[in-house]
């Protein structure tokens, strides 16, 4: 391992974490409040700074200055461990997601591992432990119920989450997330394959199971990140906040921000798998119509601009998906518990399973 690799990796980690993800998390909270306000005909936060833009900073100070209270009956070690477990997996997951083409010759992915999506599932599932342990260690009835709900919810949805992406990898033939993006650059986004041999009718037939896959995967991500309509573990009205009832100050905010970080990484994974990652085809008429690719490898300042453009494209797509997360949250009521189980086990599991076979039948016609 040469020093160049280590230095660029460190720069990428610091850049993506402190420049992009963490500000995005805190401003996702602000955006959530603004979006919910607009949907409910209100204005939302508008006191701190212009249009309330400094609200996240004020919130941070509020959370830091609150009393950090540990209940006497709580199991202190696990009580302290749980918030860390809730926020870490969400941030670690971003490591394997390619968030740009190349910048100055450095590929814009922190760890291009060949088990990409398996790594995402393995780490993202750990997020549930934070909630379960937090609910258990609080030694109080509502957090306990929240933790139990969280674990059974994860069991119901992890299956369809995993099965829904198998069609993608049947098609790409590789678990590496950068290969998924490169496949989509050559053959078009999986749910809208305009690029490449778009005259091939089988490719368009394939978009139907891909759309189903996308919907199932997105719904499973909703459940995975405890967003409404599947926010049963925290269900404010029934469980008084659920797993985080006994938490205060920064420990509470870690749970809170962990949810948003999970939402961002979930959106990033969806974008990578189904929306072509950082790829944005630009229509071009030089010598007949074709789609131009913004290249991060071009010489000089054009390469730098191209690389930055691709990174911006990726996060713009992520932002759109986050808006959809919020839009759904402020539209749908919470599912009842048996309904959630029924959806997970009786519908999405079967749909995802059948979908794999449908894709397997279509794939030979494309190759």
């Amino acid at each position: 391992m040469d020093s160049f690799f280590i230095i660029t990796s460190l720069l990428k980690i610091i850049g993506i974490l402190f420049v992009v993800i963490l500000p995005m998390v805190s401003y996702a909270v602000y955006a959530e409040r603004k979006v919910s306000a607009a949907i409910q005909d209100r204005l939302g936060p508008n006191r701190v700074g212009p249009a309330g833009l400094f609200q996240p900073i004020a919130d941070m100070f509020k959370l830091l200055l609150k009393e950090d209270f540990t209940p006497r009956a709580a199991n202190t070690f696990y009580y302290w461990l749980a918030p860390c477990l809730a926020v870490m997996p969400a941030i670690i997951t971003i490591a394997v997601v390619p968030f740009g083409s190349t910048l100055l010759g450095v590929p814009m992915v922190i760890a291009d591992v060949n088990v990409g999506i398996l790594f995402v599932f393995a780490v993202a599932s750990l997020g549930v432990y934070g909630i379960v342990i937090g609910g258990w260690a609080s030694n109080s009835k509502y957090p306990f119920l929240g933790g139990i709900r969280s674990s059974s919810q994860m069991l119901s949805y992890e299956l369809s989450l995993g099965l829904a992406v198998i069609p993608v990898f049947l098609l790409v033939g590789n678990l590496r997330l950068t290969s998924v993006v490169h496949y989509q650059i050559e053959h078009g986004w999986l749910i809208a394959p305009f690029v490449g041999d778009w005259a091939n009718p089988w490719k368009w037939v394939l978009t139907i199971p891909m759309l189903i896959s996308f919907v199932v995967f997105t719904i499973a991500i909703f459940a995975e990140t405890n967003r409404l309509p599947f926010d049963l573990p925290e269900a404010e009205q029934e469980l008084a906040g659920g797993y985080n009832t006994e938490y205060s100050s920064m420990k509470f905010s870690l749970f809170f921000l962990g949810e948003y970080a999970a939402m961002i990484t979930g959106s990033a994974v969806i974008v990578t798998l189904f929306f072509g990652g950082w790829h944005l085809p630009i229509p071009s008429w030089h010598g007949g119509f074709h789609w131009a690719l913004v290249d991060g490898n071009a010489p000089g300042w054009r390469g730098v601009l191209g690389g930055l453009f691709n990174i911006a494209t990726f996060f713009a797509k992520v932002t759109v998906l986050i808006f959809i997360f919020m839009w759904v949250r402020w539209t749908l009521p919470r599912f009842r518990y048996d309904q959630l189980m029924r959806l997970g086990w009786l519908f999405f599991f079967e749909i995802a399973l059948v979908n794999i076979f449908v894709v397997a039948v279509i794939v030979p016609f494309i190759r």
Partner: protein
Amino acid sequence: MIRGNISKMATITVPRPKLNWRERLYLPAIVAGLAITFKHFKNMLLGRTKVTMQYPEEKWDSSLPDHYRGAPALVRDEDGRVRCVACQLCEFICPPRAIKIIPGEIPSTDRFAKVEKYPEEFDIDMIRCIFCGMCEEVCPEQAIFLRKDYAITGFTRADMVHHKEKLLEIGGVMHGVVLKWNEKK
């Protein structure tokens, strides 16, 4: 005492609504709901939604009606004299007993000696005041009026008691019909 058979009580069996396949599918309802919320979101972004008045910046003071009952206040007349003659009628009528008056005597050498009394102290406890307007109604001198001030705040209970100076400050000058203090009467 309950008589008769429980089975004879009026019972209504509410039938569960039969849902057709479209309703059971649930998806059209979700899409319709998303469309509604997006319409609200879009209207807010385009500035078509009417939102609540943004209170400290926007106030409704200018559109308050003349009969608005805000904080009670003492008024002065054209000559700058306190109109109140400390008759204590408002103190007696006040339902929550918010008003406390200590009358003082005007010396016989004074130009306005025939008025006899003036309020040495005039306190209205704004925590007790219910803005009923009875003090205004009962005042024979038209000396106490309910003004349009409604944001009465303070950090302590003592802050919330309006003394004479504060009451006169809120009240200002009233050009009125009562001419008792005028020499011509």
